[in-house]
Point group: C2
Chain length 194, copies 2
Amino acid sequence: MMGVIMPFERNVEIYGEDEPADYLYKVVSGAVRTYKILADGRRQIGAFYLPGDVFGLEMGSAHTFSSEAIADSKVLVIKRSSVATLAASNNSVAQQLWTITARELRRVEARLMLLIKTAEERVAGFLLEMIKRSNDAGTVELPMSRQDIADYLGLTIETVSRTMTQLEHSAAIALPSSRRVVIRNRSALNRLNG
Amino acid sequence: MMGVIMPFERNVEIYGEDEPADYLYKVVSGAVRTYKILADGRRQIGAFYLPGDVFGLEMGSAHTFSSEAIADSKVLVIKRSSVATLAASNNSVAQQLWTITARELRRVEARLMLLIKTAEERVAGFLLEMIKRSNDAGTVELPMSRQDIADYLGLTIETVSRTMTQLEHSAAIALPSSRRVVIRNRSALNRLNG
DNA sequence: CGTGCAGTTGAGCAAATTCAACGCTTGTGG
DNA sequence: CCACAAGCGTTGAATTTGCTCAACTGCACG
């Protein structure tokens, strides 16, 4: 599929909320977050995107979230109109667009389930999600900060930090460094996942 | 579009989680909720569907939520395979399927934004959503119980009840009966909606 | 080195939950 | 027609959870 690979430095905006959605994007390397800022300054992270993930695909004409590179990243940028043209003639492309949206829906629904739970369950669920999306089943290198995780889970950085420490003390995980998580007891995490 | 209209009594299951998704559904009258039950008995409501809304449309082969009629309802039941056949030849049908999924995604994302907020903001946001989806802009008849609302917003019935009372005292709404809500001060609700 | 940023930890506080009691409405049976 | 039970909603008091404010640590970078 056509498109151009563009580099984005850490914390640089890829697109803004309400901007025309003329392009869609695929993470090649690095990581991306989408987010909204509320009137009072609170930020909600919409999703994290890792290499291979497509983001910025909209039905309407504008983006509903803003997006930024979490780390220095390379992103494949594809003109939406060219995809639309393809989809009009090629049924399997149309199918793929639907699949991407449906997968997105599944992920958001899974997160809904997280957000009704306690802090410990949210963090455990988040770690399991990150593990599942990474290649290595035993260790995850988190590309995002504690603030990003907090805004993703609807918690404060302090609560995220305390909960991580708590999970470490209960031997569910190990934290060789703050961004590196080793799963020590997956079933304990699964149990928390309700 | 073909299909059969079926009646469902209050609290009767329409389909269960993990059951084969051979049909999709459209609310004709009444109201429907989708939900999941967690291991410890907590329930999370996935969505409320009102007349005109389509639900139970899946990409995969199984339903990801269970669904029940909230009140006595009539539901148009459509065989999925017949829709799939149509979509294969007719591009605009395929487009419509995508649109339904995308709209669902938007709604869930909007709810994500709600779930990171305070109880008062969640309830205000819920009422605004219900008002927007109803015809009358000034009054809503809520088809669902306080327990349903609580499970939708990730709160307890007590907190929902107290918050409603509080909104009534602050003159944002009036409650002629527990299921009937009159909007008295929409801008106050919007302010809470952040 | 020192400065700044990210993360951790602690103490006190506010918000929502839990537990419990009570009121209102509805339906059922005597 | 009244009595009573059941379901739903509201209200109150005590408790718990996560938040706020604040101090402190470790680390990277100039």
